[in-house]
């Protein structure tokens, strides 16, 4: 191979790539899993600094309890930061772990993740594939209850099922429940349980060429599972600063204070430094694993089971809405016709009356003339 000592400008390719990528934008999908009241909604809203996910409507809680199902809700939001457009999807799993009997509660979650892979696969195998909708889940945050003890059977089983299909990141929410000493012991017990049960969690790459980044990455890995505090409210600390935090009678716990919780580390992981790695791992590892199991050697999709996932529900809802609208439109049309006909009838009735009175008047006149004639 000949080597070239003069530069021809190939080194400009990364800049071109940057322009292309920033113009195309990206899609990022995060799934949040955990019991109701674990702190998922608050955390997501804190992370994205907007109320993207609405808080639980307590007035409807009795219906939710009686249904006893785990459902999948997808919340979509478009973000535009410095002219870089991101389609952000948050997948919520209300009902998970909320009941006395949570047998197979993980099944809808697994079905959703596999369903997204399958949807992408089918689109990819199409002759025209320039406009693929990518709903694959890039990260799954599993919220562990801050019991301070260890993982529970449901946690173990669910994380085993999820870890083999998606980038699984365990998170301890409401971290301001646990004192720092107990928190360290809790994290250790969770890590031991994860290892003992062979749960695959997302391991961010540590080594980096840039100085200081490797240390930061290592610190990130050591802090897992991340203990986070969520809050959208601004409060004033005893020493006068205004921060996002929670105000107790005995002090203020701060979201962005690294001595209080690992929020900053998790935000870096999800957004600032490892978002690309999460996306590429999903594509190169999890999607490829799915693909190799579900594509036969002659290029057809095999082994897919008809699953009811969120996409179908959305389509179903859209169809139902269209149908309802059409019915309403037809009804409105019929009502208009009815009104018109009634109007016509009234008009005709009036004409009839008019004619009738005219006839009566004429008959009267005839009678009068007859009388007059008779009198003569």
């Amino acid at each position: 191979m000949a080597t070239n000592t003069k530069s021809i400008g190939i080194a400009n390719l990364p800049n071109q790539t940057h322009k292309i990528v920033s113009r195309k934008g990206t899609t990022f999908t995060v799934m949040v899993v955990g019991e109701s009241g674990a702190g998922k909604t608050t955390y997501v809203n804190t992370l994205l600094t907007t109320t993207i996910k609405s808080y639980r409507d307590h007035s409807k809680r009795r219906d939710a309890l009686s249904r006893k199902t785990v459902s999948i809700d997808v919340i979509r939001a478009a973000f535009d930061e410095n002219n870089f457009a991101t389609q952000l999807n948050v997948v919520d799993t209300p009902g998970f772990g909320d009941y006395v009997n949570n047998r197979d509660a993980w099944q809808p979650l697994v079905d959703f993740i596999d369903g997204q892979h399958e949807m992408y696969l089918r689109q990819e195998l199409q002759p025209h594939r320039d406009d693929i909708l990518d709903g694959r889940v890039h990260a799954c945050l599993y919220f562990i209850s801050p019991s301070g003890q260890t993982l529970r059977p449901l946690d173990i089983e669910t994380m085993q099922k999820l870890g083999s299909r998606v980038n699984l990141i365990p998170v301890i929410a409401k971290a301001d429940t646990i004192t720092p000493k107990d928190l360290a012991a809790f994290k250790r017990r969770i890590r031991d349980a994860i290892n003992a049960h062979n749960i695959r969690i997302y391991a961010p790459p540590v080594e980096s060429e840039t100085e200081g980044v490797s240390e930061r990455n290592q610190a990130m890995v050591d802090a897992m599972p991340f203990a986070v505090i969520g809050s959208e409210d601004d409060v004033v600390t005893p020493d006068g600063r205004t921060v996002k935090g929670r105000q107790y009678l005995w002090g203020v716990s701060e979201v962005e204070n690294e001595a209080h919780c690992d929020f900053k580390k998790l935000r870096n992981l999800l957004i600032r430094s490892h978002m690309l790695d999460l996306i590429t791992t999903t594509e190169d590892v999890h999607y490829e694993a799915f693909r190799s199991e579900h594509v036969s050697t002659d290029g057809r999709v095999v082994g897919s089971v008809a699953r009811k996932d969120a996409k179908f529900k959305e389509e179903e809802d859209a169809l139902r809405r269209r149908f309802a609208e059409q019915v309403k439109a037809k009804e409105a049309m019929f009502r208009q016709w009815e009104q018109k006909l009634i109007g016509e009838r009234d008009k005709l009735n009036k004409d009839l009356e008019h004619e009738h009175s005219y006839i009566t008047a004429l008959t009267q006149e005839i009678k009068q003339l007859e009388d007059k004639l008779n009198k003569k």
């Binding site: 009941y99 009997n101 002090g251 001595a259």
Partner: protein
Amino acid sequence: MSMSDMRARRGGKKAFLFNMIIVGQAGLGKSTFINTLTNHPTIPKRQCDDPAQCTLEKTVDIQAYTVETDEDGMKMQLTVVDTPGFGENIDSSTHFNEILSYIEHQYDDVLAEESKIKRNPKFQDSRIHVLLYFIPPTGHALREIDIELMKRLCGRVNILPCIAKADTLTPKELAAFKMRIMEDIAVNEIQVFDFPCDENEDDDETMQENLELRSLLPFAVVGSDDTLLVNGRTLRARQYPWGIVEVENMKHCDVAQLRSVLLSTHVQELKELTHDVLYEAYRSEKLSQLEGLAEKLAELNMQAQEQQPGSV
């Protein structure tokens, strides 16, 4: 009426027997609370060091611990029944009956003892006088498991609902949470011990006290095994980087009031309710069941005799 007068009215300085059972999921601070209450390491710390073991599905491991307490000069032999494992399974449907059976078993013992011709003078009454139910501080409302447990057990035992680890919630969140819990309790027709007071029988001070306690329900509990030096005093407290939560401070949580309810002011009332109302209800149900069974048995015997006319 002073504290000592009230005590004299409610039973004086004899050593009392009082039994309580504490129910709630793992990690809610039940053992810590009991140890705080009794000021004694009554229930051993349950630390599971084998990660592979402690995630297996289990039954409720009912264990009783007895300790002597002395609160305001009132001596008590307090028995606390712990229920580790409750609600920990993927499917915890069987746990309610396990606890219910335990409570009914204690009633059966008393029933059997009462029916004896020669009673045992040393018989220890182990009927449960109060059930402390620990609700996790989700901040939302009651979960299915909370409702089911309280519904199934409120007819057999006095229930006092408590919010565990109440230092998770800000004051505003705590107030809203308490309100929603009491709403859920009312809607599901769960009978908890709500400090009943009678306008005709009780005086104003007692009524006032009971109404205040009723407004605190469910009790916000914070527990700590550690003591810290706060403003020159040694207190049970929890140390966070942003502040210190004092267990005995009435502004921080309701432990002080709950302790006096459980160890002095309402001990007699809880025992009376257990004996006069709950035990009696169980007794009549059980006896009429037995009567019904005896009748059925007599019927079957008669039928059997009719079918064999030759044998008499």
